[in-house]
């Protein structure tokens, strides 16, 4: 296969390194444009790979005992690449007015460092999505964690030193748990490849429970599943908003993708034994995250809890363990990427344009002064609640189709799953539209408020449009995905 795919993956890393010296010569807008283009190019290639080649795999390195390092693009990670690229490239431009304000508050302007870290972060998430090997996945994971940690500690809010450390430590606890599972796997098989499925996979079966538990716990921590989530509300709420918009849907969602890519594909029989555990965690996460949304007064923290609940959706789709539900889970990644990044962006508009306004109790009636932000927020919540014409409609639909498919032959326990899904999933529209009401409707709470500028609204519009696009043409995403899963 052509090595172009590998080069497109490398490109944003190179551009990231160039951002620092370039910042001495050109302004932030141009750097943003260059970075965004370098982030978009991998997706353009991925689209070419999906629609023209069917799938793509290119080995760029291999070693004994390690296996081979491939760049892979196929139906399963295509929605992930699209989600990551869409959000990261659009938010690059959103960063300009946002970080201008943030730099002013912090008293020093450093576009070079910002875009270096930002682009590294985005590029390594694409790398995670395109990895075929535990080591490669882990290296990209590290490369994503370090810049995001530095970004939070430099430009975050509140106790940013403590919170960024917390973020760094907990994600590493997750990453290392994952890595230890990967080591047992790799040492046994003499290869760390998880894709394509190794020929001698049965060699790990004696220790499969240990491997699977370590991998799942590691990914659960990354994904902030109920019980493993304590780090998330801090990190996602106190990160600078463009970083929240990347962290919240993308980085944690990739852990969900990894559950599909690794345990679901490698050990389907063993994962099926843990189905009740998965479903319990999924429903608990949706219920717990969803209900805690109601208790939040800080808009960004509110959105962070909603992210926890949305991770429950992804896990619920996976827990159905059939192609319908898993397709729903992967679509949910994309729907959540569209929805949550738009919502975080809206929250960011309020913070920058209105002196750090984050307290929901001080909002109300903002739709009058911020009609565009209000519309985008509505669209974001529609994606989360699964209302047409948003792509969230399809993700929710397929998750529920998968659940119905898997659990209807299971007697009263199956019916219990239906009942609990009904209650848990019913919470999402409730918190979505209650939040809409608290923030945007009712009497105007804050008369001095004003709408964000074009650099805020245009990126949101682009993200929103891509949510509609894949609703209107679901085949673009669903056909390759479903064909792969079957």
């Amino acid at each position: 296969m052509t090595p172009v795919g590998f080069y497109t993956l490398l490109l944003p890393f190179l551009v990231a390194l160039l951002d620092l010296p370039l910042s001495r010569f050109i302004g932030p807008k141009k750097i943003a444009a260059i970075s965004a283009i370098s982030i978009i190019i991998p997706a353009v290639f991925a689209a070419y790979a999906i629609f023209s080649l069917g799938s793509y795999q290119f080995t760029f390195a291999s070693a004994r005992y390690i296996g081979q390092f491939d760049v892979i693009i196929n139906g399963l990670n295509w929605p992930i690449i699209m989600g990551v690229v869409l959000v990261s490239s659009a938010v690059t431009f959103y960063s300009i007015p946002y970080m201008q304000q943030r730099f002013r508050e912090e008293g020093r302007e450093d576009w070079g460092t910002y875009f270096l870290l930002y682009t590294l972060f985005a590029a390594s998430m694409i790398g995670m999505a395109e990895s075929n090997n535990f080591i490669m996945f882990y290296v990209f994971l590290e490369v994503a964690l370090v810049p995001s940690f530095i970004l939070i500690s430099l430009y975050g809010y509140g106790e940013k030193g403590r919170i960024s450390t917390m973020y760094f430590i907990w994600t590493h606890v997750g990453a290392l748990t994952f890595l230890s599972g990967a080591f047992i796997y790799g040492v046994t098989l003499h290869s760390f490849n998880f894709y394509p499925i190794p020929q001698n996979l049965s060699a790990v079966y004696p220790s499969v429970y240990v491997i699977m538990s370590l991998l799942l716990i590691g990914l659960f921590i990354k994904m902030a599943v109920f019980g493993f989530h304590a780090w998330l509300p801090y990190a996602h709420a106190e990160a600078p908003t463009p970083i929240s918009a990347l962290l919240s849907p993308n980085l944690i969602g990739i852990a969900g993708y990894a559950i599909v890519r690794i345990p679901y594909e490698l050990f389907p029989v063993y994962l099926a034994q843990a189905q009740w555990v998965l479903i319990a965690f999924a429903l608990l996460t949706i219920f717990y995250g969803g209900l805690l949304v109601f208790r939040q007064v800080d808009l960004k923290r509110l959105l962070a809890y909603s992210s926890i609940a949305q991770m429950g959706y992804i896990l619920l789709g996976i827990a159905s363990l059939n192609p319908l539900g898993v397709a729903g889970a992967i679509l949910q990644f994309y729907a959540h990427a569209v929805g949550k990044s738009v919502l975080f962006s809206s929250a960011g508009v309020m913070i920058t344009e209105n002196d750090g306004l984050r307290d929901v109790r001080k909002m109300g009636g903002l739709a009058k002064k911020m009609p565009y932000t209000a519309s985008f927020s509505l669209w974001g919540f529609m994606n989360l609640s699964g209302l047409p014409p948003s792509i969230g409609f399809f993700s929710k639909l397929f998750i529920l189709l998968g659940i119905a498919y898997s659990f209807m032959g299971r007697g009263s326990w199956g019916l219990l799953v239906f009942a609990l899904s009904l209650i848990s999933l019913g919470i999402t529209p409730a918190y979505s539209f209650v939040t809409m009401k608290k923030v945007f409707f009712g009497p105007l709470g804050n008369p001095t408020i004003k709408e964000g500028g074009l650099y805020f609204l245009l990126p949101m519009a682009v993200i929103a449009a891509f949510g509609l696009l894949f609703f209107l043409f679901p085949n673009l995403m669903l056909s390759p995905l479903y064909a792969y899963l079957r």
Binding site: M166, Y234, F393, I403, M408, L425, F433, F441
Partner: protein, 668 residues
């Protein structure tokens, strides 16, 4: 029939929505005109569709072009035209167009015109898609599209000014506010309906699991197999409950009825279109689309006794809703609220009819529900639109502030009167035929509680609507008022007259039976036996007609010039006042919901918050870090720098190791 023409019936309103949004920001009139044009064309096309379907003998006609596929399942975009869907689409398209004409004047001065027209057209597109969809997935998209636009339009006046509220400010029932603001009502509507829709989707999932297709036609043909398989796994009743859950919520049947009451915060035109004439009928439409296949499937494999409990449930819920909502309309002071209660109550009659299908001749029961749905849509739209004109003229939503409207608004009075007579079931208006047919069927079925609830509801219906009529139109004029302009007046006057005409032509026979009955059942793809309509049962007929007239007469007597009569009774307190509060506070059901369900979730979320802060957050971010630092402080003490202590520790360690080694040797 041309595919493009037929599909543009539901597609054009969506284009209208998209086109009018940017236009409406600066050109209000232009947006109104543009979006009305995008509704006029579908209305005309729907006539063509009914004509085409007619010349095709109302055989099912299905179009579809591939939209997407997953696995072996192809999902197409296309429509299913038969008697049911073509007549329903005709109704929806024309009502939408006439209410759009009404809105042209009604929403003239509104600052949010662009939003209004966007969601208005979006709604019509979704509703037509729902009605015409050839597969469950498209139906679901239309279904949830109506939910979305209903939410947006209920909360249209999102700034929550007091004149937009429903209910009485500062009135609490069991500590729960009796009133609701537009933004709050929107949330209530979307939460109720989308909660139930999740059940609907799980039901679709179960159906898809068994049938392997989303196509409505294919499902109908395979229904015996589907039911056999579900019955074998003992999932028949759970499936029916989940699958129809969305329909109960959409049509505001108990226990999902509360959202419709507060939905009256939307503009009156929206209440007329969405919350009276079209969207709330979607649940009934759903029942009429799927329940005949279930009955005929169940009949063919002899499992009627397994599905009968579900139909009994529908009948009981329908009758109960019909009765309960009528009783609440009895005492309400707000014109729109009376009509909202009435809508839910009438929908209850339709559900009652659907439920009776398992106990009487199914085709007749389904037909009576369909006929009543059409009648109700016509007269309720007329009532709402006239009410909108009244509320506008009196600048008040309370009927007590109205009075003597006859003097200024003669045409409005006539339209309202015609519609009210039809609602009360007075011949020859259309409401007479179908409501009496429903009650007749209930009588035949021998399920007495259901029949009695229905009959009691019939009495209350004519009472509450003529109470409203007398209070608003009779007596001396309270205020100088005038008829609205033609765009507002013509739609509801026309609807009032159509109500009469529809009643007159209702019994017109085709093939020795009612024409509409023939259209619906003759060439339906659902195989149900189709005996001629029964002749009316004299006892049942005279009872329901008598009660209808009695309610009417009682209302006229009580409120003709003696409007303080009942109020004086109420102010005396005692049992009547208690009953009044019970009805006025909506049987306290709203309060119970807030206390138990909302309050319950609030309590749970409080507990969870404590779990979060004192549990997880403390454990991970407080306990573990501090435990680690305590350990580190303790351990650090060992690093004291004294060589003698290090040496002691070294020898102690060596000694311990030797001891353990010795122990191991001994144990071996």
């Amino acid at each position: 029939m041309s595919y493009l023409y037929l599909n543009s019936i539901w597609l054009l309103p969506f284009f209208g929505a998209v086109a009018s949004l940017p236009l409406g920001i600066n050109h209000k009139k232009g947006a109104s005109l543009l979006s009305s044009v995008f509704l006029a064309i579908p209305a005309l096309l729907s006539i063509y569709m009914v004509y085409a379907a007619f010349s095709y003998g109302f055989k099912p006609f299905i179009t579809g072009f591939g939209w997407f596929s997953f696995g072996s399942t192809q999902v197409s975009v296309g429509i299913l035209v038969d008697g049911l869907s073509s007549l329903m689409a005709l109704l929806v398209a024309w009502l939408s167009f006439s209410i759009a004409v009404y809105s042209y004047e009604y929403m003239e001065d509104d600052p949010g015109t662009h939003r209004y027209w966007f969601f208005f057209d979006f709604f019509v597109g979704s509703m037509l898609l729902l009605v015409l969809a050839n597969n469950l997935l498209l139906l679901l998209i239309g279904w949830e599209g109506t939910t979305l636009s209903s939410y947006a339009l209920i909360g249209h006046w999102y700034a929550d000014e007091e004149q937009r509220w429903v209910g009485d400010k500062n009135r609490y029932a069991l500590g729960v506010p009796n009133w609701s603001t537009p933004s709050n009502s929107g949330v209530r509507a979307i939460v109720f309906t989308s909660f139930a829709d999740i059940g609907f989707i799980i039901g679709i999932g179960m159906l898809y699991q068994v049938a392997g297709t989303m196509s409505i036609y294919t499902i109908s043909q395979e229904m015996p197999l589907i039911l056999t398989s579900l019955n074998r796994e003992g999932l028949l009743l759970p499936f029916l409950f989940l699958f129809s859950m969305g329909a109960f919520a959409k049509s505001a049947q108990f226990p999902f009825h509360e959202w419709l009451v507060t939905a009256m915060t939307g503009p009156t035109s929206v209440s007329a279109l969405i919350h009276a004439a079209t969207m709330v009928n979607a649940g009934v439409y759903f029942m009429l689309r799927f329940m005949p296949m279930i009955i005929s499937g169940a009949q063919s494999i002899n499992i009627m006794s397994s599905v009968a409990p579900f139909f009994l449930y529908i009948a009981v819920i329908g009758a109960f809703t019909a009765f309960m909502m009528a009783s609440q309309a009895f005492v309400s002071n707000e014109l729109k609220l009376i009509l909202a209660f009435s809508t839910a109550s009438q929908l209850g009659y339709m559900f009652l009819a659907v439920g009776l299908a398992a106990y009487v001749t199914p085709s007749v029961a389904f037909f009576s529900a369909f006929s009543h749905m059409i009648s109700q849509a016509l007269f309720k739209a007329a009532l709402f639109l006239a009410a909108g004109a009244l509320i506008h003229e009196y600048s008040s939503r309370y009927i007590k502030d109205m009075g003597g409207a006859w003097h200024g608004m003669k045409w409005t009075t006539i339209a309202f009167l015609f519609a009210a007579l039809s609602l009360s079931g007075i011949p020859p208006f259309s409401g007479f035929w179908d409501k009496d047919l429903i009650l007749d069927l209930a009588f035949q079925s021998g399920i007495w509680p259901v029949y009695l609830l229905g009959v009691a509801g019939a009495f209350m219906t004519s009472f509450y609507i003529f109470r409203a009529f007398m209070l608003a139109f009779s007596g001396p004029s309270k205020k100088e008022i005038k008829e609205p302009g033609h765009p507002m007046l013509v739609p509801y006057l026309a609807l009032g007259i159509i109500t009469l005409l529809f009643g007159v032509i209702w019994p017109y026979p085709v093939n020795a039976s009612n024409w509409m009955y023939s259209v619906l059942t003759e060439d339906s793809f659902v195989k149900l036996a189709m005996p001629p309509l029964p002749s009316f049962n004299v006892y049942s007929l005279s009872l329901s007609l008598g009660l209808g007239l009695a309610g009417l007469g009682f209302a006229v007597y009580a409120y003709l010039g003696k409007r303080e009569l009942l109020d004086a009774q109420l102010s005396r307190g005692g049992i009547i006042a208690g009953l009044h509060s019970f009805l006025y506070d909506r049987w306290y059901i709203n309060s119970i919901y807030y206390r138990l369900i909302v309050g319950g979730f609030v309590d749970i979320s409080r507990v969870l918050e404590t779990t979060e802060t004192k549990g997880f957050d403390y454990f991970y971010n407080g306990f573990i870090p501090s435990a680690l630092s305590t350990v580190s402080v303790k351990l650090r003490k060992a690093q004291c720098g004294s060589i003698s202590k290090y040496l002691t520790a070294l020898f102690a360690g060596l000694f311990m190791m030797m001891l353990i080694y010795a122990l191991l040797l001994i144990l071996r």
